[in-house]
C-alpha cells in the first residue's frame, strides 16, 4: 500500500519534449514509474525515449488508461495544461511548474475540486510512493520503501530529511510535496487523512514552514489521529515582513509565525523537532515503540 499513487499508476507527461520534461521522464522511467504517454502540441505521432507523444491530453486518453499526469510546461501555459488534464478526467495532476500567477492557481484548484480530482502543487517536487512510482523531480536514490509517510511544502528540505532517513535505513511509504506556493491543491489535512488510512504508514513526518495557516489547520486533525506525527517547521529565525523564497513563507503582521505553529502542533500531540537532522532519531524511537 501507499497513498495516491502506486505500482499500477499509469503516468502521462505534459510537456514531454521540453528540457525538464524530457530529463525527468528519463529519471521517472529509471525509478520504475509507468510513464506511458506524453503530450507536446505539434509533435503528436512521434516518440520520446520510446514513449508515444500526442498533441493533446484528449488524444492520449483515447489510446491509454491514464491515472495521473505531470505538468512540465512553462508558467504562462501551466493553467491551460492543468485544466486540460482535469477536464479530460485525470484524477491526479502533479503541477511541477513554478511562478504560476496566484489567480491561475485559484482557478485550477477550484476546478479540481468541482471535478473531484487531486492537484499536487503547483511549485512542487511531486510525489513518490517509494519503490513503486515517482511522479516529479526528486533525485531517485534517496527514496526507499518503508513505514514513514512524509508530507511537506518544501522540496529540498524534504530531500534533506528523507535523505537522512534513508541513510539510517528508514524507508518511506509515500512522500508528498504539496508545493511551495500560497495556493496549492492539497492541504496537510487531505494528506494526513490518507496516511491515517494507509496500513503501510506507521508514522508521519510533517515538514512545514512559516507563513500561512496550513500547519495550524493540520493541528486540528492531528488531534484525532492514531498514528504519531513528527513535525519540523522551517523559518524559526526568519525576520517579519521578509519573504523567504517561497511565496507563502512570510510572516505578515504577526501571522503565520513559528511560535504559533509550534504551539498549535504541540497542543495537538505532534512531536516537534527544532532542526531538520533530528528527525531520524525521533522516528527510530517511535518505530521501536510500535
Amino acid at each position: 500500500m501507499a497513498i495516491i499513487i502506486d505500482e499500477t499508476t499509469n503516468v502521462l507527461v505534459q510537456g514531454i519534449s521540453g528540457k525538464q520534461g524530457f530529463f525527468h521522464t528519463k529519471q521517472m522511467l529509471t525509478y520504475g514509474s509507468k510513464v506511458i504517454a506524453g503530450t507536446s502540441p505539434g509533435k503528436g505521432g512521434t516518440t520520446i525515449e520510446g514513449i508515444p507523444v500526442y498533441d493533446s491530453v484528449r488524444a492520449a486518453i483515447e489510446k491509454h488508461r491514464i491515472d495521473a499526469s505531470v505538468v512540465f510546461v512553462p508558467a504562462t501555459m501551466a493553467k491551460d495544461a492543468a485544466l486540460e488534464a482535469l477536464a479530460a478526467g485525470i484524477k491526479v495532476v502533479v503541477v511541477v511548474t513554478e511562478h504560476i500567477p496566484v489567480h491561475d492557481e485559484m482557478a485550477i484548484v477550484a476546478y479540481a475540486k468541482r471535478v473531484n480530482s487531486i492537484v499536487i502543487g503547483p511549485n512542487t517536487f511531486g510525489i513518490v510512493s517509494s519503490g513503486k512510482c515517482k511522479i516529479g523531480i526528486p533525485p531517485n536514490q534517496f527514496f526507499i520503501p518503508g513505514p514513514v509517510g512524509v508530507v511537506a511544502r518544501s522540496g529540498t528540505l524534504t530531500y534533506e530529511i528523507v535523505g537522512n532517513l534513508t541513510a539510517q535505513n528508514i524507508g518511506q511509504s509515500t512522500v508528498v510535496g504539496m508545493g511551495g506556493d500560497r495556493v496549492v491543491g492539497l492541504t496537510f489535512v487531505d494528506v494526513l487523512k490518507k496516511f491515517e488510512q494507509d496500513p503501510e504508514t506507521k508514522v508521519v513526518v510533517l515538514i512545514g514552514e512559516i507563513g500561512g495557516f496550513a500547519e495550524e489547520e493540520a493541528s486540528q486533525y492531528i488531534k484525532e489521529m492514531t498514528k504519531p506525527v513528527v513535525a519540523y517547521i522551517a523559518g524559526k529565525s526568519a525576520p517579519q515582513g521578509k519573504q523567504m523564497g517561497h511565496a507563502g513563507a512570510i510572516i505578515e503582521r504577526g501571522k503565520g509565525t513559528y511560535e504559533g505553529k509550534v504551539k498549535a502542533l504541540t497542543e495537538a500531540g505532534a512531536k516537534i523537532v527544532e532542526l531538520p537532522f533530528e528527525v531520524p532519531g525521533i522516528i527510530k524511537e517511535l518505530l521501536l515503540k510500535l
Binding site: 511562478h99 500567477p101 496566484v102 485559484m106 522540496g155 523564497g245 507563502g248
Partner: protein, 370 residues
C-alpha cells in the same frame, strides 16, 4: 509588487470608480499651484509604500495654497515609517458623511478570493469589532455576480434600491473586476467615503502578484527591493539581506531556511538568505557567491543537497571564484547528492574539505565567525 496610492487611484479612475480630484507633485511650489487649481481646502498626502501614514505625520490638511506649500515642505523634509518622501498627492478635501471599508484579497485557507466590507472604515480593520465586519468568500467560477454584491450591501445595512445602495453594488462589482484583471493579491479602499449619494475611494492600497507581472504590461513598476536583492532577482536567485555576519548559500527555499535556523541554534547570525534554486549552474553559482561576498561576511557556509543541482557545478563555481576573485574569509561546504564525488575532488584541489552533514558544517562556520 506594492503600488503607490496615486497609482491605485489611477486604476480605480480608469475603471469608473470615483476618486478625489487631485494631482501629484514633487516640490512644494507645485503643491501651492495645484492647491490653488483645485480651490478650497486640500489634503496633502505623502506617497510611500506603508500604511499608517496619518499617524506618522505623512498626511496634512491645508485651507489655502500658502498653507499647502508649508505643509508640503514639512512632509518632504521628513521620513514616513522610514521611507523618504519623493512624491505628494494633493487632493480636494472631501465632505465626509461616513467612512466605509472595502477590500478584496485571497483567503489562503479557502484558496479563494474574499471580500471584506465594513461600515466602520477609516481605521485599521484589525481594530474594528467583528460585528461590523462582513466577509464573503467568492467562488472564482461564479465571480462577483450582482446578487452577491447586493447581499453584501444588504448586510452592511444599506437600503438596496436607494441611490447609495446601487452605487455600493456597482463599486463592489467594479473592485472585483479590478482585482481579477490586474492580477491583484490585495485591493483595499480605506476609507471608502460616503458623501451624500456619492461613493468615493479616498485611499488605495494595491498589491500585484509578482508572478503575473509578465502579463500586466500596462501597469507601472514599483521597485521595493534593495539594489543587491534586485541584482539577485535578475539572476534568478532569491536573496534577502539580514543583519548577521555569516554568509549563507543553499539550494531551495526550505533548506535555506533550515540552514538559517541551524545557524541561529548554534549561536551564529546569518548575513543573508540566498536560495540558489534547483539547477543553478556554474555561472549562476559563481554570481551567487559574489553577491554573498559583497555583504562582507566573516565566514561563509554553503549547504548543498544536490538533486537537480549538480555538486560538480557548485564545486567548479566555488573553485573559480576562489581562483579568480579570491575569497577573503573562511568557506565551509556541505556537499552531498548528484555528482558528489566529482564535486569533492574539485574542492580538494583548492583546499576545501566538504562535510557530509549540515549540522557539522554549520557548527564549524559558527565557530569561524566568532
Amino acid at each position: 509588487m506594492k503600488m503607490f496610492e496615486y497609482m491605485g487611484k489611477e486604476i480605480f479612475s480608469k475603471y469608473g470608480l470615483k476618486v478625489p480630484k487631485g494631482r501629484m507633485v514633487n516640490n512644494s511650489e507645485d503643491a501651492a499651484f495645484i492647491a490653488k487649481d483645485i480651490g478650497g481646502a486640500v489634503v496633502i498626502k505623502s506617497q510611500v509604500l506603508s500604511g499608517k501614514r496619518g499617524k506618522a505625520g505623512g498626511i496634512k490638511f491645508a485651507d489655502n495654497p500658502e498653507q499647502a506649500k508649508a505643509a508640503a515642505q514639512e512632509i518632504f523634509e521628513m521620513t514616513v515609517q522610514g521611507h523618504a518622501v519623493e512624491i505628494l498627492l494633493i487632493e480636494e478635501k472631501l465632505k465626509i458623511d461616513k467612512e466605509f471599508y472595502l477590500a478584496i484579497t485571497i483567503d489562503l485557507a479557502a484558496k479563494r478570493p474574499v471580500i471584506i466590507a465594513s461600515i466602520k472604515g477609516g481605521m485599521d480593520i484589525e481594530e474594528v469589532a467583528e460585528d461590523y465586519i462582513i466577509k464573503e468568500q467568492i467562488d472564482v467560477e461564479l465571480g462577483m455576480q450582482s446578487f452577491i454584491a447586493s447581499d453584501i450591501v444588504r448586510r452592511m445595512g444599506v437600503t438596496l434600491n436607494s441611490p447609495l445602495g446601487k452605487e455600493l453594488v456597482r463599486t463592489i462589482r467594479t473592485l472585483y473586476r479590478i482585482f481579477v484583471e490586474i492580477d491583484a493579491e490585495l485591493v483595499e479602499i480605506n476609507p471608502l467615503v460616503i458623501s451624500g449619494d456619492k461613493v468615493i475611494a479616498a485611499d488605495s492600497k494595491i498589491t500585484i502578484d509578482d508572478a503575473a507581472l509578465y502579463r500586466q504590461i500596462e501597469l507601472p513598476r514599483v521597485e521595493e527591493r534593495t539594489v543587491v536583492e534586485k541584482t539577485a532577482h535578475d539572476l534568478g536567485l532569491s536573496f534577502v539581506e539580514l543583519n548577521g555576519d555569516i554568509g549563507v548559500m543553499a539550494n531551495g527555499a526550505g533548506i535555506t531556511m533550515g540552514t538559517l535556523d541551524t545557524i541561529t541554534y548554534y549561536g551564529g547570525k546569518s548575513a543573508n538568505f540566498l536560495d540558489a534554486g534547483g539547477g543553478t549552474g556554474e555561472e549562476g553559482t559563481a554570481k551567487a557567491l559574489e553577491l554573498i561576498l559583497s555583504r562582507n561576511p566573516k565566514a561563509i557556509v554553503i549547504n548543498i543537497f544536490g538533486g537537480i543541482t549538480r555538486c560538480d557545478d557548485v564545486a567548479r563555481a566555488l573553485a573559480s571564484v576562489k581562483k579568480n576573485i579570491g575569497i577573503p574569509v573562511p568557506v565551509v561546504v556541505r556537499l552531498v547528492g548528484t555528482n558528489q564525488e566529482a564535486g569533492r575532488a574539485i574542492l580538494k584541489e583548492v583546499g576545501i574539505e566538504a562535510y557530509d552533514f549540515m549540522q557539522d558544517a554549520i557548527k564549524k562556520v559558527v565557530e569561524l565567525s566568532r
